[in-house]
């Protein structure tokens, strides 16, 4: 009798859940099948602030890139292309940069864009009180002026071609001077970009609507809705269920499963995985020891074991448009344990490897693979796993023998490494090595007025960096966006931008 009742209770519970499941609300399913409404993009991160000058988090930058515009942009090959400036020129002495603004551009609140906005924005970024990390790239700037409403002029203390590349970063996005004056940048989100901020629910979603008056052409989509889904497996499940139109994926193991009914667009990231060697500590102060470590590591094996093959072996330069051999400059073939052992001179080395836990998915897998590979030449790595905050503190002070890192890349190779290895570099301590040959090449690159450093200059820089082996460069991840088959034209760039949403369509 009791058993019968129990069975009945189970049956009833099953029926109730089936009914509840059947009443799934429209909002939770089948975004991909709707042809109206915003394009729903799922990602693990949220928008955590509205001020571009201080935006550093990946989700925040990715969102603000759609709301704001910069003076210049880069194309897929890292070349400078017009943004809010339709053209620009550099004076012969390389100390004056003049920008001619696009005509008829308006901020989302209706205010017209003038050169005063450029002056106010760049002055604010250069102000220490703003605490923008981009400021360190603008130290050569002495003055920003607006000779007329459509022209902005930047004066430099010395020629510095990298300033132009800095003007492509979201940290220098042009703001409405009225917002700066009123101190409302944390609330305003008043840009000139292709989408306007329509609303946000903290930790859940960000709503953007199309800016029909966008100077680059109105977006074809009515809007974009970013949804915060903290787990990437859930993003994939939601894509398969048709709940999202697109999903941004960063975990290589999830990317490896993303097939069947889901379209994948991927671009090698500019961010790179590297094993940073502290060349100020023994025995890493000796070049042959650093080179032995660099030679012993088979990068492809790291990619295959740590990120399920979802990565690209790289050398120091990850800026788009430069196609260089990732290991040309090393004194031996990577993975050649015998040659590496010879460089080490038969000695054994014990090192502690600082590894970030919880920061990115592949860190521990990479660490274990490197540990196994280096043990073959007598380098014993002990993994020292630390949470992000502890890692950052110790990384900044170079409190490590070796550190496994995922560092950000930039479209300018000079900007990418001058902060580590240049003279007076702000991250010189963390870099772990003062290398005069690298610093010399960076100084030459910095003084160049070329908008894009020549292939020869960059190749020489990369060869020298590999020869000096301050670090071991391993691989870059793929930036991945997965979409429903009916979404066309949505791609992701090397710097994780989704600006292609401006021209993307949904069939």
């Amino acid at each position: 009798m009791f058993r019968h009742r129990l069975l009945r209770a189970f049956a009833l519970a099953g029926a109730v859940s089936a009914v509840v499941a059947a009443c799934s609300p429209a909002g939770s399913g089948n975004a991909g099948k709707k042809s109206h409404g915003p394009l729903v993009v799922a990602r693990t991160v949220d928008l955590d602030g509205l001020d571009p000058a201080v935006a550093t988090a990946f989700g925040t930058v990715q969102t603000l890139q759609l709301i704001f515009d910069t003076l210049l942009r880069t194309d897929a090959d890292g070349r400078l292309v017009p943004g809010l400036a339709k053209s620009w020129e550099t004076s012969k002495d390389g100390r004056t940069l003049t920008f001619h603004l696009q005509q008829g551009v308006r901020f989302h609140n209706g205010d017209a864009l003038t050169a005063d906005a450029v002056v106010a924005t760049l002055d604010r970024v250069r102000d220490e009180a703003t605490a923008s990390v981009v400021r360190s790239n603008l130290l050569a700037v002495t003055k920003v002026t607006a000779p007329d409403p459509n022209t902005a002029v930047i004066k430099l203390s010395h020629p510095d071609g990298s300033v132009l590349h800095t003007l492509t970063l979201t940290g220098t996005a042009i703001l409405d001077p009225a917002d700066i004056k009123a101190g409302r940048l944390a609330q305003a989100a008043n840009g000139t970009g292709p989408f306007k901020l329509a609303g946000r629910t903290q930790g859940q979603k960000v709503d953007l609507t199309a800016n029909s008056a966008y100077f680059g052409g109105a977006p074809k989509l009515p809007g974009v809705e970013f949804r915060v889904i903290p787990d990437e497996n859930s993003i994939l499940a939601g894509l398969r269920a048709g709940s999202f139109d697109a999903g941004v994926l960063t975990d290589p193991n999830v990317v490896a499963q993303a097939h069947g009914g889901v379209k994948i667009a991927k671009t090698p990231s500019m961010a790179y995985h590297a094993l940073m060697l502290n060349g100020r500590r023994k025995p890493l102060d000796r070049l042959p020891v650093r080179q032995a470590i660099a030679c012993a590591i088979d990068r492809k094996q790291v990619v295959d074991t740590a990120v399920a093959g979802q990565g690209t072996v790289t050398g120091p330069i990850t800026s788009p448009g430069y196609h260089l051999s990732p290991t040309d400059g090393l004194p031996c073939t990577p993975g050649d344990a015998a040659a590496a052992k010879k460089l080490l001179g038969g000695t054994t080395v014990d090192l502690k490897m600082l590894v970030m836990s919880g920061g990115y998915a592949s860190a521990v897998n990479e660490a274990q693979n490197l540990q196994a590979q280096l043990s073959k030449i007598g380098v014993k790595l002990t993994i020292d796993q630390q949470p992000t905050n502890v890692y950052v503190k110790r990384w900044s002070k170079a409190d490590f023998d070796v550190a496994l890192a995922l560092n950000g890349g930039m479209s300018s190779p000079y900007l990418m490494y001058a902060r580590y290895f240049g003279d007076g570099a702000s991250l010189a301590k963390a870099a772990g090595l003062d290398s005069p040959p690298i610093a010399k090449l960076l100084a030459q690159a910095g003084a160049s007025t070329e908008e894009r450093l020549s292939d020869a200059t960059v190749a020489q820089l990369q060869r020298t960096m590999l020869q000096q082996s301050p670090w071991v460069w391993l691989f870059t991840d793929n930036n991945v966006v997965a979409t429903q088959p009916n979404v066309k034209g949505l791609g992701i760039t090397a710097d994780n931008s989704l600006r292609s949403l401006q021209s993307a369509t949904r069939g």
Partner: protein, 320 residues
């Protein structure tokens, strides 16, 4: 009267507990290495000049001495002001106000499903100890306890997506007031996953408590008097085994109120656990401090409620 005195005593104890929690959580957060600047900027924090760092310390409110920060915070809390989340710029009260209903509902649903199921299975297993039914239920219970929540949750999400083309919560949470059906369709699966572990724990407690009581003299007497086995089972044995069962359900419910981080992550539910986890990672002190205080209050209140239920179930406890 005794009950009132007991409640009064507990409320006084609650204040003491909360002051203790406030001091501990405040101190622990400051003892953690790294501050909000490192947490938010990561390795880019190295690019800041001393002046920029000072400006950010002012912005995050960590430029004052720790005792000064503590006194300011407690003063604000006592005035009903929980502060502002420095990362989102939103009132902490607003953030907590939107997260609490999600977690409370999830905890209630999981308990409503898991507790009766656990009790029924416990009684079923204890009916014939050592028999096939007992073995089956105990094995299922062990499996329920051993199966990590994140595995079960991930499997549920993956199967629903791949096989049924259904994703329970696509990131936009539907509250009960917006749509009962919509809300339950989002909450039922995470609640079921949570209920598995809860039911297994309650089943084991019920089984052992039931067996203890079933061997008592008064049960033998009842049987000897010729009472129906069902009446003995439910009215006498189960009722007298209820104190440890209620305790266990109370403890489990309290834990669930503390936030079900993994489940909220996998099912994308904007509850207290997710809010707290993100706030800890970003060193958003105001949010962590207030959320922990709130969780502690919830835990103490649930314990108080459990004590009062004891009195109703077993009047002897009121005398001690």
């Amino acid at each position: 009267m005794t009950a009132l005195r007991a409640v009064g005593g507990r409320v006084a104890g609650l204040a003491g507990t909360l002051i203790g929690v406030a001091v501990v959580v405040f101190a622990l957060l400051r003892l953690l290495p790294g501050d909000a600047i490192d947490a938010n900027l990561g390795t880019q924090a190295g690019l800041l000049t001393a002046g920029q760092r000072a400006a950010l310390r002012r912005y995050y409110g960590i430029d004052q001495s720790v005792p000064h920060q503590f006194v300011t915070w407690i003063g604000q809390v006592l005035h009903g002001n929980l502060g502002v989340s420095v990362n989102s710029g939103t009132d902490v009260a607003t953030l907590l106000g939107s997260a609490i209903p999600v977690t409370v509902e999830l905890a209630v649903l999981a308990t409503l499903i898991g507790a009766p199921l656990g009790i029924a299975l416990g009684v079923l297993a204890a009916g014939r100890p050592g028999g096939a039914r007992d073995l089956g239920v105990q094995s299922a219970g062990l499996l329920g306890l051993a199966l990590p929540e994140f595995v079960l949750a991930s499997v549920v999400v993956a199967v629903l997506g791949a096989v049924f083309r259904y994703f329970p919560s696509a990131g936009t949470f539907v509250s009960l007031s917006q749509s009962v059906g919509g809300n339950l369709s989002q909450m039922i699966y995470p609640a079921l996953v949570l209920a598995v572990g809860l039911a297994a724990t309650v089943m084991r407690t019920t089984r052992s408590a039931y067996l203890d009581v079933a061997r008592s003299d008064f049960v033998r007497t009842a049987r000897g008097k010729g009472l129906f086995p069902r009446r003995i089972r439910w009215r006498h044995v189960l009722r007298n085994s209820s104190v440890p069962i209620v305790t266990m359900v109370g403890i489990q419910f309290g834990y669930l109120l503390g936030g079900t981080v993994v489940i909220e992550q996998v099912f994308a539910l904007p509850g207290l656990g997710r809010l707290l986890l993100n706030a800890i990672l970003q060193r958003d002190y105001a949010v962590v401090q207030s959320a922990v205080l709130l969780i502690a209050t919830g835990f103490v209140v649930v314990n108080l409620a459990v004590d009062l239920i004891y009195r109703a179930l077993d009047p002897r406890t009121a005398e001690t």
